[in-house]
Subunit: 390 residues, 4 copies
């Protein structure tokens, strides 16, 4: 139960890069981080336009002297202060994540970064090495991974409630970009421009979300090889895809599919995870996140509800409001930030045992997303052939 | 869109009575009030056990000198400070609401109170007079009323999308107290004890929630007469009911029903509102709050989704995260506290025009809930006969 | 499993009154009766216009000499034949049911009749006496009562799976007559004319359907008293109601509600049955008839599916196609006609024990529907007061 | 509206091969064929055990002299009679379909055959040539294709309601064979034995069902190439698969997926069809067949209901019971048989124009299913590579 009681020593001094006025993603970072008194926002380089960032920072209650024009200035200046920031969140366009994260780690900061962490596995490995050297936490905001019923699913798989895992069916397939909305909407434009978005659009933008959920639920599965077919139904988006299907063979024989799309007309999110085992299946849908379908073969399907006493303890530990009441995306994000804080604190204390026991989307999760996109793109660009997962 | 931008001048200095360590309701008050920088928590009388309240207050970041042993001490002490609290939230058992709210108003505070505001209309009228005399805001936390799709429903009715209103079908019927859980669970015990709960259990505890939603959606409807049948299926709860059905005739000919229950075994919340008009119906269910069913006769039913561009502007103004992503109860509460803050500020400035334009569950909502329960109990105690609504 | 194997000796020679060309109800009677080789259609007085009835009878394969101008001629002529009809189905407007059923019984025929069987309990009792004297079966086509999952629900209640029964929530509330469609549509006109429809519209037309389902599922419940409020939202329908709510107290303390409506705009059928017990609830909805929700308090809700091996044997006995495949209204009707045939055969053989073991909507079901409407109308006409159930 | 009115001249004299006592599939053939007076069952070779077949034939009302020991005897004998059968339905194990269908066509009979029609395209072509030469109708019982809302979907696509077609997502994925049930259940055993089942299990057994639905809805799409991965999670089933994923590129750029499975634990049927266009999507699920989801981008999703007046005329023409009432699989099958009868009659009359206007699963549908399985198996056996569709 998360209800305001303190589970960390003191709030972590925290800054943000990006997430300025009007940014939805900035708002959700702040809502999550500040909710449980585990972070305190004391500095920011919030906007590409310094003055706009400064005035919004003041609006948010940041001391004017700590509203910076850019992240480099912020990292340098804060490093000089005894009360300087200990952690930073990065909510900027994809193509800037790597440089900012690298600089933050070099300045001795814990990092929370939007996905994708970077564009190549090589870059990701560089960040991993930096983080390891500095004993810093890197968190990646796969927000839905913080949902209580994802924890329940993970625990059910671990306890064998599904039997042997056979199929992993994943999708995140919305329809909001069925038309070429980027022609009118600048906020969408960078997503279909390889210079800013990297080597893929929907694979990285949406597909990595359920992929990470599957990693949480099924920590023991390893992709052996995959094949990917991608299409650009809005022609001007090529070479970036607006729809893709990935097939995956796992070591041990399980089989997986991922449908990533932004042209699934009329669908809201369409983020669904179905795990099929030899005895039973689980299915979760992010648009009705408070219910988890548990379907044992030859028995009536069961609707598992968030917050109920019959959940496994690790799931119940994430509860904030009790059963019946709906929780949403904000709670899932807040649960992540809660874990980020506990991990940062454990890391700072050098408490490796405790750190190892905190499950959150870490640098390996960030690497894995980048790796998966790389492999998908390689397969797709070879004409949709099977490639070994490297 | 609510995303962190400031819509008030400065955070309101805020205190709490009740909502101490382990309290779920206290957590949701704080989550909602502190989310958008509209309130700042500076004082508290958080617990019936002073030392426990004090230590939890410190845990929450309240200055130890402003962690008080009881509400009377707090109101008196804060009134002496130049930086004393401007508003207080009351999250204590029902039987204490009236006295605390009265004292708060007498000390010149704005008040946010859990429902029921008090036990009798006479008491409620007394609070109303005090609030009017002191030009203070009284907000009542009918939390679901802050949900974006409730605003959409209100606007649809106002624009005539449903035609003339005919039926109002309301229910809040959960099953968590199907057995006599109060025998084991002290937190439930006071709810079935008339000394603490007042003259009813489920009518007041759950029935008033959808009743208030109907008042928001249908501001022009007035109950003319009603009849109520109530039962105590767990015998030891008598005279308090654990199930009740209320029928209502409205002025103008519309007809309504309310099902209030805590013995609807296996149901989670079962809070549903269905409004039937001469052309179309609306239906909303708090367990899937991001969808609103709009059913025009002779057309396919439509699923209206939270956050979509096709919503009416007053609904979209409440959006925090965009369509597809699920919002939950916390966002609904935060929307209420957001409005409480704007109302308090407008009231303090003497800006009556602006104050009139802010829709929130105010003192009249509080009175109406108490009045409805009074009428229901009167009808039920007469054997389930029709009584004029007074 | 019903799959074409014969469970009766020989098809029953069968005639129809009404159900002529273009009649939907006639089609469903024939589909149900002829499906399993338990009836054979050999005579008919199918239409108020004799020539139209005759030509349609021939189209259906009836010998022209047995296509009659009216029911009296048919009953008289068939009674003279060695191979005359043994049973007749009545699918005519409500106001003719009594006279036709009476005549049929007097001519020694088994009777299947659309509901309502007649307009008054007195009439119904007269039919009951005639049937008893002649040892004839009277079946009433409460079609949904033949659905496999209704049988499952009955069995679950009988075995105590729900605990002690507390609440019976019934509704049949569609929106097809939200507007005064009868002004354009003659087929609807008689329903709102007391001369043809009897003392009520929706109470009798739709409300008796879920009422009978509750009688099947809960054979031991007896109504002690009830109150009913009815309205005519389309003014020209008064005194007949187009919406009604009935509250019922059962002997032993259970409580029930019935919502009957044809002005529930945008709703298809809205026929739902929810039974709440001390341990668990059941809910069934005729628009998704292959699923039954079983909700045990403190456990995940279960979705019971038609045709599955975990169903109780009496339910499985009704299965026609196996789980997964959807069955619909036609199968429910066919199950009833199947039972009608078995009952008629048992009755003809004088096999009282077997007859007693066949559950079908019989004359008592017909009486009970009429009685309930009478009581509802009496209560409503007194202003919505409680009346003893007589 | 189908309601018993005759749309054919006279019932077609009809025989059956297979579908004996206890056969579910035989029951559904008879229910469908005999429902609307378009066929009359006059002969049968119903069982591999002649005496059992004969006695069941008599039970069904077939003249004992026309209850045959095997299909060859039946075809020969009936060909000698002036009133011999005109059409035959084949409901035997898969490996016998080809020989029986061939013999029937050679004896001048119209044929209705269970899918798969045969095992190879070469065989299917042979049947096609025979049918063309004899001007005989060959119908294949893709039962769900007869559902009213499939007709609606077809018409919506034809009228451009979805825009340009982009994605075709198909699945039929149940869980009934998650365990090796064939070890205990002989009725399942032949399905996993290549000698009886042919070159595939789930691809042919379930995958071809939604594939044919897509052909009905999207008559202009042509597969250009496909790739298929198949697995045998129950090891003893190899080389036959119990799970398969097929990806398809269509000419013109649309993309499709088919998930075929019998190990989707806990799922009932899981037969779903989702068609994504540039403007809107359609989704249909056979377990809730009376609803069709129509999702226009940027508008609320709509729930299209069977039987409603807003449906397109070709869909309404299939209606049997009116909106609100649920129809099921039997109605879909009956609609097919209705069309089979009209096609046979038109063919016999030499009315090519009318014949061309009757849409039913014909010999080309049968060929296409076999072709698709052949291509899938070829791809899968090459390791899951793309193969041109031949």
């Amino acid at each position: 139960m998360i209800n305001g009681e303190k589970h960390t020593e003191a709030p972590i001094r925290w800054g943000m890069v990006g997430g300025g006025k009007g940014s939805q993603i900035g708002y959700i970072h702040r809502s999550a981080a500040l909710r449980d008194n585990t972070f305190t926002l004391v500095a920011g380089a919030l906007d590409i336009v310094p003055e706009r960032g400064r005035s919004f920072g003041i609006e948010l209650g940041i001391d004017p002297s700590r509203c910076y024009a850019d992240y480099e200035t912020m990292f340098a200046a804060e490093a000089q202060r005894a009360d300087g920031i200990q952690a930073v969140s990065i909510a900027t366009p994809n193509n800037t994540h790597f440089a900012i994260a690298k600089s933050a780690l070099e300045h001795g900061l814990h990092v929370v970064c939007e996905k994708p962490l970077c564009f190549t596995v090589a870059e990701a490995k560089e960040l991993e090495a930096l983080a390891a050297a500095g004993k810093k936490v890197v968190g990646v905001t796969y927000g839905y991974a913080g949902h209580q019923l994802i924890e329940q699913a993970r625990e059910m798989v671990a306890r064998g409630d599904l039997g042997e895992i056979r199929l992993v069916n994943l999708q995140f397939a919305h329809g909001f970009h069925s038309a070429a909305v980027e022609e009118q909407n600048p906020a969408t434009r960078w997503r279909v421009d390889p210079r800013f978005a990297g080597p893929s659009y929907v694979l990285g933008d949406v597909g990595t979300h359920p992929l990470y959920l599957s990693e949480v639920i099924l920590p023991d599965l390893r992709i052996k090889r995959l094949m990917c077919a991608r299409q650009s139904f809005v022609k001007s988006r090529a070479p970036l895809e607006d729809n893709a299907v990935t097939l995956m063979e796992y070591q041990g024989g399980a089989f997986g599919t991922v449908w990533s799309s932004c042209i699934n007309a009329g669908s809201m999110h369409g983020q669904k995870v179905r795990i099929v085992g030899s005895k039973a299946s689980l299915e979760w849908w992010d648009e009705r996140p408070n219910q988890l379908s548990f379907e044992v073969q030859d028995e009536p399907a069961r609707v598992i509800e968030r917050g109920m006493g019959y959940l496994y303890p690790p799931a119940l530990a994430d509860d904030r409001i009790g059963a019946g009441h709906p929780e949403g995306l904000f709670e899932a994000w807040a649960n992540l930030y809660y874990r980020f804080a506990m991990a940062m604190e454990a890391s700072d204390r050098g408490d490796a045992a405790r750190l190892a026991g905190i499950r959150y989307p870490d640098i390996r999760a960030g690497i894995e997303g980048v790796r998966w996109v790389e492999n998908c793109v390689r397969s797709a660009d070879l004409g949709g052939v099977w490639v070994d997962y490297v």
